[in-house]
Symmetry: D2
Subunit: 371 residues, 4 copies
């Protein structure tokens, strides 16, 4: 686990001062916004203070939202009023989660950082900015170091930290331990992605029922370039991208949640299935070390059955439902020096709300947040 | 188009003596059996004389079958009686189509060949026998030459000709022109297969609804070994397998018909998308030359839209519905010297009944069949 | 078959002067528009002369349309240019099919009638106007008589003829023979409607996958009031609504095409299943008498299996695919004097494009159309 | 809440002697068996002591079961060994839950009752026996009185108590308060049932994908006759069936869990929606009075949105997920004196495992169980 260079106190689970941070949520009524609400409702570090929505501003959250998750809207949040976006509304929050569409995110996140706010964003707008961390807490916590450069370069006191595309998240958690086993010649990924990844209105039922769409707009490019950044190393305060030839093919299938991906890695040497399974099963990171509330005990769960993982059955596995990547069918390929496996990652939890919350928890543990 | 070495007259479309061959169908009431019935109902070369079924023997076909295709059972066939399997029942048929399960196929097809019958079988039982052609009429018609060796070696007058696994069929039609463009280092295939491929009762709805199953029993092995044989060349009357490293990952998705496959080919040199598209679009074979009734005018249809082919929309494209492979998203991979595309092949037409019928038509055109 | 009172020549099949009518199609690129295009491509009475679309105006149809039906866009139509709506554009067409959304339809259809055009519309805008026929050709052809009153009252030379809501169409074809058997006390209908009924973008996949939505906006009211009009009788040139207590419950399920409906009729006397089946099986109307091109030989097909009709399997049954209503499970109810059955009607063929075309064919046969 | 006549102590929540009853589960590895296991894993009254399975006998439960529920097999149960059925194996259990298929259930349940065991069974075998309670704890707890007659008549010390068909359960919970509002002339029910109701292998995906099957074998008859018994009253120690004309139409749709039902009640007088909603919302029974662990605080949840309940979203609503019936669209029908609504009931929880466990809890609270 790399040292981030940022000031970090000797934090251990239970040793935090438990004063909660007031947080705001931009895009609160959308389907990903709902995941945030359900995960933040009784959070030990964060208190959901402000809900921001566009069309629903002025209404109570419980009336504005078309709640799609199991159970009811948490009662204390149902009665909160949805606010319109304004810097004034957000001035008392120490942390802002942004589940905005990318266009809206671009300028607003900058405005917020400029007035000193920390923004944890899953929007794609700033992901590839050279001074913005693109973070998976178990994989590249050391990239938080970029925040220093971001602040000095942009001359602001706040900060923007982004989380990756939902397809890249699961993939990169699995690649993190595997790329250390041997030099990699080629990575081939084929995805079978859930409809929730496109937002509530994104995929018309006429398009996907009894069908597969072999295309997800911009997704293949995002996965390739975000992976190169996430698996990159810090040198002189900058990220040097990982250079691994990668070919990605993205498909939309008729599942609700859970992106399933077939992965083939061609190594420079033979890598056995057992060796890979060991590396995957034992993989942990800072979130597990700190015992963060949203950290699953095992970031990667390896299953031995021949027909798993399956989206409907496995997406909520593990100690924190939706936060573990489930891997199966780990095997040597028929072709030499290739390793094959199938992975599953919950796209609206680990790949969106949960990943962002875990990122914020890591920043909290590292004392990067304050009210 | 290689010469088969078998006696072949100067046959051209329209020049056939149009005396129809009496044919039998083993496994007539199953879902693939129904496809045969609908395609043979008014066939110019073949007359469906005998329907063989196990549990339904004795009943009229129209009563025995649980017809799942659009429209009605063809009237003249609805009134035919389903027979039990016996050599005597089949003695007057010049050609037997076998849509039997593999275990049943193994011995019965041998018995039939021994009494002089030509069997065209889609069962896997004899596909890998060294003296049995595994045929895709556009791809390896010259493999029919094996029939001579089969007859002399097995000392029978009949013959067994097999058709490949439904996933291999579409793949190998696409590979046929592409492997000629340059030397191939690695082939990576990811399938998203329709439920009909497992038979009517094969996939419980509880397994596949809102789900993907990342496993199809024995399928990956079949695709690898059958492709090696199909793309192999004949030397000294034997097949020398093609040697191409190949990694396959098979998935079942909730579509009714149409196997969708993502294909990546790593070549020894850069191969452009245009070059590939030309090769694919212009690919034809003996069936097109002879103008066989079930031969599509274009075995491969290349689509230019960014989100095609899609199973529900594209599986019946082309001049003979279900017989063309539809290809889209042909592109250079992000990784060097790789080519990527998505292909779609109708698994119960081109991948089963239609492929077998086209094979029989080719044999008819080559004068390998007689009553 | 009632006399309409309109001038009608002694028309019999084959006796038409076969000069084709030039027709225009409003809303040509939508999913229902595509059905029109495929059904009008080689129509014996009509020549598709003008395609009108909003966002696609100026493009060739083949490029503007996102074709969702099997096969390709008919070649001669693919190259036609989509026009913007204007009275001038439509001045040379003798008949206009309107597949417009209801708001757009309201004023445009009136404008067209005012310049002398006959509009056959499936929009709901004018369905309940007292002087506008709401037509199912087999059920209430005599309602065409309203056209006279419409013309004299509105002082125009054209005419607006409407077709019913897609859920009402199948229901009312089945009710037509059944309400004649005995007096009716109560009709209870429960629908399970296909997603195509809401238009291509109407039902998000997140709403309907692994789900049922027990509500279709305004549908229950439409079915009740349209049925009352359609089954009404003409008196003094006006329609007197049928008065039958009716309770409807509409649900959306995840099928592509085909509205399935459970129907219960409580009669004043016991009505047997056999009696009902006879009435349903023998039901025909003017379209069958005239032998109209889009008329199915049997408007109602009764199936005897215990588990039919099923949308995916039965929606295209009959001599003109999609134009017959398929009925099954005809039975006496457990409750006294009740009859129960299940019916299936193709919502975008019989319930939309096909129904409108059949209506126009009937008007052609009755000499109500001219170029 | 009627007095059952059985000896009952003054039991209140918290006042139970908390000695747990040892229970056995017949049919432990099936999909319903899995629901029992997950609900009994940490049950305050019951200790799951013996798991009985047929094909899996001898294996550890964790290996024998193909676990389909979210999360993992509860650890303490995963290591239990599955036993073969024998009276000896079950002799130390004070209560046996039977999730057997009906044929197996018929004789085995009798054998168990004969050796003094209490069997709570969801099999249909003994549901209609005149001396066997068919129980919905909130609806007809007084039917437990039949146990006395059963014991004296059959000369055994044990007892068989059954739970209803999964479609009847939700319906009858809703009917219980509604039939008290006014005299009922006719009840019309249309179901849209989930595939899990037919067991894991019951519905092939080829049957139901993009389809509806308008038939569920024997279901309509079961709903009618079981409802008559459940809503019947006890007279002279016997049940006098409720006599309400009822017409049921059952359909299978492609949802995983949750039977959705449209209900129409024709009353002798006008009954308003508000009156009905009050009766539904306020309905409770003995389970709520005793505060049984599996009793939802509200047996019926009434929703006011126009498009609810929906299976995927609403089936787990309420204080005990899967145990409440969710009702929506309560409205006066278009026809006079009719009331219409839509109800949703979780078929494998309230309609199977959960309903049986709640029944056993009620018997425990009434001191009808002992080790």
């Amino acid at each position: 686990m790399a040292d981030t260079g940022l000031r970090r106190d000797d934090v251990t689970k239970g040793g935090f001062s438990m004063r909660k941070i007031d947080v705001a949520l931009l895009g609160a009524t959308g389907s990903v916004g709902q995941r945030y609400v359900s995960m933040l409702a009784e959070h030990p570090y964060f208190r959901l203070r402000t809900l921001v929505g566009r069309s629903s501003a002025g209404k109570k959250y419980g009336e504005a939202v078309k709640w799609m998750l199991e159970g009811e809207v948490p009662a204390e949040i149902a009665s909160m009023r949805v606010e319109e976006f304004s810097l004034d509304t957000l001035k008392d929050c120490g942390l802002i989660f942004s589940a905005l569409p990318s266009e809206a995110a671009s300028s607003r996140e900058v405005e917020l950082a400029r007035i000193g706010k920390i923004v944890v964003s899953e929007a794609s707008a700033h992901r590839m900015d050279q001074d913005v961390p693109l973070l998976i807490p178990e994989v590249n916590p050391q990239h938080l170091l970029l925040l220093e450069r971001q602040r000095s370069g942009r001359k602001w006191d706040g900060g923007i930290v982004t989380t990756p595309n939902c397809t890249a998240v699961g993939l990169d958690i699995v690649l993190a331990p595997l790329v250390k086993l041997a030099d990699v010649k080629l990575i081939v990924v084929n995805t079978m992605q859930a409809i929730s990844g496109a937002g509530y209105l994104g995929v018309p039922s006429m398009s996907i029922l009894e069908n597969v769409i072999p295309f997800v707009k911009d997704e293949e490019e995002k996965v390739v370039r975000e992976t190169a950044k996430i698996l990159g190393r810090i040198e002189d305060g900058k990220i040097v991208n990982a250079s691994m030839p990668m070919a990605v093919s993205c498909n939309r299938v008729s599942t609700i949640d859970g992106h399933l991906e077939s992965l083939l890695i061609e190594y420079e040497r033979e890598v056995s299935a057992d060796e890979s399974i060991d590396a995957l099963s034992n993989f942990t990171g800072e979130p597990q070390k700190y015992g963060l509330p949203t950290a699953p005990s095992r970031p990667i769960i390896v299953r031995r059955e021949q027909d798993r993982p399956q989206p409907r059955i496995d997406r909520m596995q593990g100690s924190v439902p939706g936060m573990s990547v489930v891997v199966g069918r780990v095997r040597r390929g028929a072709a030499k020096k290739t390793l094959q496996l199938t992975l599953l990652s919950h796209n609206t939890i680990r790949g969106a709300a949960g990943g962002a919350i875990l990122t914020a928890e890591l920043m909290y543990a590292r004392k990067l947040l304050q009210n």
